[in-house]
């Protein structure tokens, strides 16, 4: 749930700032209200699909052998 602090902020402002501030808030809310949204079920499916498609390229997830991971290699090459 989104809880807007707008009313709290407004009450702290005084004088003519009130009007400018209120206009900005309405402007901002209009921008936010105008965006297109998708359902959480669709968003979740997309996140899951991305994870699934990229899992095999994720060394920390799949665990790559020590010989292929420069950090796991206990004997780093010394170039003489």
């Amino acid at each position: 749930m989104h809880s807007y602090m707008v009313s709290k902020m407004s009450s702290k402002m005084v004088g003519s700032n009130n009007l400018a501030h209120a206009r900005r808030m309405v402007q901002q809310l209009r921008v936010e209200a105008s965006i297109e949204r998708i359902k959480v079920s669709k968003a979740s499916a997309d996140l899951m699909r991305y994870c699934g498609e990229n899992a095999k390229y994720d060394p920390l997830l799949t665990g790559i052998p020590a010989s292929e991971n420069p950090f796991k290699d206990k004997k780093p090459c010394i170039i003489l």
Partner: protein, 352 residues
């Protein structure tokens, strides 16, 4: 000039419109909340046991490590500390390649340039400065320093955009700003937070010119870099947001907060879709980063631990111990083979 009566009426009309817009937003968001992410994720396999260990320990800072960043070459690292030192390391060998002493303490932000030829840093000096890295180890890096950004309060975070030419900054002065490195010119400023901004992250380049910021007003804001417009705002955390990081696809971002939780916000659903928390975790999360596929979230905490979360199922898959003080920064390497953590125990650790 409006008389007081007219001013009062207009303000009231605007307030009424604000309230009605807010209610409409809540309604629209609620309509689309048909399921929880972790419920959809029930059908996929759980992750197995993770064994991650410290593979390197980078010692050399004389005080708390506050920030670090990886070079695109996947082996170099820049780190910055409370003692004013900025160090460039070769993480494979643990050798220090460069060191710069800043004129201020608490260097809270540092970043590697995409070319690998420079680093940016700043903190209590309220500035972001760029240091070209010299191949000549004897050269005094401080001599070539370029001051780029000027804020009216501390610099909390900085990041190069896709080139060495522009830097994005966030500050304790409540703003973010985009700067031209060569001229130091302010290209765009971003106003909307009502308190210190603590962190920012650029969207992965494929998803366009946006970035996300988080701060002490508990809000995470998404911005259009060209227009300066705040396009989306999320406010569900109960305390300061210390760190924000995009999910690798750019469709979501994660946050770490002093309220001891990390959260995931989906940009297209326009809402929070996951909370990563446990009753036993009571200390703030200072830093978060995703593994390459986005399935794992690494989070550093003020209780000295790093928790590894299954992003989709919402469960914790590992706790990593080792640091002897707060973990202040956590970053996965560019090729995903390891991640680096920095701590108030003055060290950095590479885990794999």
């Amino acid at each position: 000039m409006l008389c007081k009566k007219n001013q009062g009426e207009t303000t009231n009309t605007l307030k009424a419109e604000s309230e009605s817009l807010k209610a409409k937003l809540e309604e629209e968001r609620a309509k689309l909340h048909d399921v929880e992410l972790h419920q959809v994720a029930e059908k996929i396999d759980a992750l197995g046991q993770f064994v991650m260990k410290t593979r390197r320990t980078l010692k050399g800072h004389g005080n708390k490590v506050l920030c670090m960043d990886w070079c695109r070459d996947k082996r170099r690292i820049v780190s910055s500390s409370q003692d004013g030192k900025v160090i460039v390391w070769d993480a494979y060998t643990t050798n220090k390649e460069h060191a710069v002493t800043m004129p201020c303490t608490w260097v809270m932000a540092c970043a590697y340039a995409p070319s690998g030829c420079a680093v940016a840093c700043g903190g209590l000096d309220n500035k972001c400065s760029v240091y070209p890295l010299s191949l000549d180890k004897n050269e005094n890096l401080a001599a070539k320093k370029k001051s780029v950004a000027m804020h009216t309060n501390y610099l909390s975070s900085c990041s190069f955009t896709n080139s060495d030419m522009q830097i994005l900054t966030s500050s304790g002065d409540g703003t973010c700003a985009l700067w031209d490195v060569e001229s130091g010119q302010l290209l765009q400023s971003f106003h909307g937070h009502s308190a210190d901004v603590l962190s920012l992250d650029l969207a992965p380049s494929e998803t366009g010119n946006t970035f996300v910021s988080g701060g002490c007003d508990k809000k995470a804001n998404v911005w259009d870099m060209r227009s300066g417009q705040n396009v989306q705002s999320f406010e569900t955390h109960e305390s300061d947001i210390n760190n924000v990081k995009y999910y690798p696809s750019g469709d979501a971002f994660a946050t770490g907060s002093d309220d001891a939780t990390c959260r995931l916000y989906d940009l297209r659903a326009d809402r929070e879709v996951a909370i990563y928390s446990k009753d036993s975790i009571i200390f703030g999360a200072s830093s978060v980063d995703f593994s390459l596929s986005g399935r794992l979230l690494f989070a550093g905490y003020n209780d000295y631990t790093i928790n590894v979360w299954d992003v989709l199922k919402g469960t914790r898959v590992a706790i990593l111990f080792g640091h002897e003080n707060r973990v202040s920064t956590v970053r996965v390497s560019p090729d995903g083979t390891a991640f680096c953590s920095g701590s108030w125990d003055n060290t950095l650790r590479i885990w794999a």
